[in-house]
Symmetry: C2
Subunit: 334 residues, 2 copies
């Protein structure tokens, strides 16, 4: 499985961008040092020189970093030695097997496209997140990479989401479009065009379930939910916000002793709905494994994302996604 390996060691390496998020690099290093990684995986942190001394893990000192307020494209051009850019270049050079960042989303997505390149046939990579439902989790994409989409992008998201599910062992995933009603004419012109294309596709690698409303997603009848990056992001964060509201209300209506008894389960559910605590969002459609954590991830959430990245690295996820996408293209042109 492992080809073109330029490193001398035999293990897998996950790069971690310490910079440009709401946590201090020290806080992130503190939790990363005690995070139990799968056998064969090691971490490489990317950050400013002043944090190297007490890092306690492999460290690449960089000159600068991209902040959340920076303009994505300008900062990529002007800060070529940022933790984000250096990390992505090491991923490209196969010195890393995966890269995790909680930095500037736009810079990470654009940087990954420019440095790693897209998968063949993919115009815009997407951020993919998993959300709980009443049944199995649903894969949602895009949750923030492409804010204004064309129908072609939505169609490619459907293929990327399908490929992801196939790697997870779902033979023929069910795909739906996040929309404001189930009728084919509902929603934006891009959604209507994508609907017609997906519905009429010959031998699709997925079952097409049509339009899905936000209230039905959580019934768990689709494996993949397609949205533009703006809507997908609103969807994700609304779920997080409402979960927090409800659990807050429960704290007031449940007797205190009862609330404490079920507290672990409540926290578990909240974590599930709080994607900052979840393995982060996976950037699919580029040639490499890149995970984006939200800037407000807790250190524990960040560490969970790093563990998620380690799992993906161990399974050669990026190569597997490429194989699945190739199959899906071949399948369609048969």
């Amino acid at each position: 499985m492992r080809k073109n390996r330029v490193l001398s060691h035999v293990g897998y390496r996950v790069g971690v961008d310490l910079m440009g998020n709401e946590n201090s690099p020290e806080a992130l290093l503190a939790i990363l040092r005690v995070t139990k990684l799968p056998v064969g995986v090691e971490l490489v942190a990317f950050g400013l020189p002043e944090f190297e001394k007490n890092a306690g893990i492999s460290y690449v000192a960089v000159k600068e970093f991209i902040s959340p307020e920076d303009h994505p494209l300008i900062s990529l051009r002007q800060k070529r030695e940022s933790s984000l850019s250096v990390g992505l270049r090491q991923l490209k050079a196969k010195k890393l097997d995966a890269f995790v960042s909680a930095g500037n989303t736009g810079a990470l997505v654009s940087g990954a496209k420019m440095i790693l390149g897209n998968l063949p046939g993919i115009l815009r990579p997407a951020l993919l997140a998993r959300m709980p439902t009443k049944k199995q989790p649903v894969v949602v994409l895009d949750v923030g990479a492409v804010v204004q989409v064309r129908a072609t992008h939505l169609i490619q998201f459907a293929l990327l989401g399908t490929a992801y599910c196939k790697i997870q062992g779902i033979e023929k995933p069910t795909v739906g479009l996040l929309n404001i009603g189930s009728e084919p004419l509902k929603g934006t012109s891009e959604l209507r065009e994508a609907y017609q294309f997906l519905k009429n596709m010959k031998n699709p690698p997925f079952h097409f379930a049509g339009n899905i409303e936000g209230k039905s997603v959580f019934d768990g009848n689709v494996d993949v939910l397609i949205a533009d990056g703006f809507t997908g992001n609103i969807f994700l964060k609304t779920a997080e916000g409402i979960a927090s509201l409800i659990l807050d209300r429960f704290g007031t209506i449940l007797p205190r002793t009862e609330f404490q008894k079920i507290h672990p389960q409540i926290e578990d559910l909240q974590r599930n709905l709080h994607y900052a605590e979840y393995p982060g969002a996976l950037l699919v459609g580029v040639q490499g494994t890149v995970i984006k954590c939200h800037g407000y991830s807790t250190p524990q959430g960040f560490a969970n994302a790093v563990l998620g990245a380690a799992e993906l690295a161990l399974r050669d996820f990026s190569q597997q996604l490429k194989i699945q996408m190739d199959k899906s293209v071949r399948f369609r042109s048969d």
Copy 2:
């Protein structure tokens, strides 16, 4: 307050469209007959002739109705004698003081614009819904009237939402834009343009809170949340879906006896988050009081919307909104 009254009776009349939703007209009539209305308010149902005999309330028999699958503009032109069109014409003629429909959203919005006319200066009316937060409820608009917006529409939604809040007694409401991050450059080009306009407006009738993420809305720090109709609708329905998921999970993790003990409070919370049970969405920006219920409203939800309409009629809401909007325009041109 009551001008141009053409009816001989002194009370207020709320028109109710029985057609074009998932409930049978009989089921709606059954609940409307037993709904306790405020003193001085009576209902007028609009439906096909076959439901008139056992109606038990004032009834206007119409020839046809617009179904949810009909094309909004074509059906308005071709079905001029539909319950929706006849009801709106009676509202225009001041034979009604408010009109409630759970029918085709596009037809109701377009029909209201054509028949009632927009308020001066308003290009596109918006659907307004109220959502619970950790503090006071937030008013969200648009939740489905304008699927693809320009910045001007978003700005007008801010003024309409502000006027609504002022009528509710909030002197200077706080207004935010639903967005995927708090930075001014986040989101679509329309949002960025609206952001700059609202931020730089002289003597605005509101406090501008900038961009608000879905996860922060429920903290309750804004009174008015602005979104295009697509995003606002996704927001509303996602909240509904996730509430149902969480309460479902609670049913499994709470001991049965405890769950039953707090069941009324849970149902109350769920009703709050389920806008089908809520007073419906209010169409603001037209010359008249129109309430839209979702097609999947339960009969009880529908009756609640009718009660909400009765309250608005009693308070001459439509006239008050016009006064507030006039003030806001004068205020700005001072």
